[in-house]
Amino acid sequence: MIEIKNLWKEYDDTVVLEHLNTQVQEGEFITLVGASGCGKSTFLNMLLGTEVATRGELLLDGKPIRNEPDADRGIVFQQYSVFPHMTVLENVIATRGFQQRGWSGYLLGKKYQQAKQDALALLEQVGLSHALGKYPHELSGGMRQRLAIAQALLGKPRILLLDEPFGALDPGIRADMHQLVLQLWREHKLTVFMVTHDLNEGFYLGTRLWVFDKIRQDPHAPQAYGATITYDLPVGEMDSSTLEKIQDDIGTLAPERTETL
């Protein structure tokens, strides 16, 4: 479904990503890990359409991916993903409103009732039925992310992008969220890209793990070379020695987890 051909991303004379070549099939769940500033979020933004590649091609179904966000690609950010002025239910219903034409996106009558039914079903699925009338600032971090996911799913995206969605959550809640995401991925037959700081998360979630790292290093000009995908592993067929080896390679991953809280 997605083809990446010799993709480069540079800002002025800083190379962020270099020489990316890979393919992604429909229905894969890919986890992107790497040290801070290695370009994994930049790559996600290119998939999203908010950043454009400097060189190379990023193809969706054989055509260059659109260079602005659209309904093909859903997104959940670490924060600010939901609309603070709408209640939980309104947040999800708004998705349906945005899908119709017109300038306001307000739904009326039958359409509204239908959207409400769908939204209620989805909110039930993510476990937010008890909080329909609450505003986002009254929710916990985990509930807000559940809402953001429900909202994205009602839009029926083909690709779901998750940008460190659970980075700010407690470990216990994070485990619940993993279950939820896996379940939704199977039920909705999505293609998922998830950026994470947490290597363990990448190791046990999804079907495929990408590690972003720099192959070439110039100690006098650290910005001269960019990162690329150094490991592309099928999840589930690896043993713990591989995990340790990657951990050694990208070094700083483990301590970073704690500072996001």
Partner: protein, 268 residues
């Protein structure tokens, strides 16, 4: 003993400390007034409370001998109408301009420099121009208030629009929203409470422009009255009028704050 920077008054003490300066000022005034009136019962500078009460009674509850109107209420009504219209125009224009320039880079490129320059023009310096163009009637006064406040509100709303996290706009687009939908559903509702805040902040300037315009060319209004009676040194009218204007300003501010809280419970 706590450090001064950590010591805070308890609830009751706080109220007492807040009222204290008001009481002191009143006391000083009354003492001064009494002393002067004792020397010269016809002194006009520091009228007693009774004299101010009499003046107010005359203006508010007795029809004017010349026109048959109750001047105090007529003045209040005229002034509030001008202020209300001026602010309503400024708020609508300011919201539209601010939101468009904040949300659309092309609109910002075209309008932001103009807005910056316009906001630097002192509105009172334009008052003669307004009188020449619109005549001495209501339009010029309302226009002064609107022209004076619109750039303030527009720039404030523009700033607030830019403060809304980019993530929300991207999110709306990934849900299928077009530009108009993003603006009406994501930006506009979040800007309305900011607009009320902006209006509250610009009320002071609004009163300033109103009173200036009324002082120069008017036949009624609160500002007109105090500048009119200045000729007779009627402090017994001026002081109650100033107090009344202050009270009106306070009530309007309070009402806008309540409105914000009622309408937008999600807004802290």
């Amino acid at each position: 003993m706590k450090r001064l920077i950590n010591a805070a008054p308890s609830g009751r003490l706080q109220v007492f400390l807040g009222l204290l300066p008001f009481a002191l000022l009143l006391l000083i005034y009354l003492a001064g007034s009494e002393a002067r009136l004792e020397l010269n019962p016809n002194d006009k500078l520091l009228p007693s409370l009774t004299q101010m009460g009499d003046a107010l009674q005359r203006l508010a509850f007795e029809p004017s001998r010349r026109t048959g109107e109750y001047l105090f209420w007529q003045d209040t009504l005229s002034s509030l109408q001008r202020l209300g219209m001026g602010i309503a125009i400024a708020a609508s224009l300011g919201l539209a301009l601010g939101m468009i320039t904040g949300a659309l880079p092309f609109a910002s490129a075209g309008l932001s420099p103009l807005l910056t320059v316009l906001s630097l023009v002192p509105p009172l310096a334009l008052l003669p121009v307004l009188f020449i163009v619109f005549g001495l009637g209501e339009v010029a006064k309302v226009a002064l208030i609107a022209i004076g406040i619109t750039p303030m509100i527009a720039r404030e709303i523009q700033r607030r629009t830019l403060e809304i996290p980019r993530e929300q706009l991207v999110k709306a687009q990934t849900l299928g929203a077009n530009t108009a939908q993003t603006m009406t559903r994501v930006l506009l509702p979040q800007l309305l409470p900011k607009l009320i805040d902006a209006v509250r902040l610009s009320m002071g300037a609004g009163w300033l422009f109103l009173i200036s315009a009324e002082a120069i060319a008017s036949t009624d209004g609160l500002g007109y009255r105090i500048f009119l009676v200045r000729r007779y040194m009627s402090m017994d009218v001026i002081l109650p009028y100033v107090a009344w204007i202050t009270l009106l300003a306070f009530v309007m501010d309070f009402m806008l704050r309540q409105l914000n809280r009622r309408l937008f419970p999600w807004h802290q």
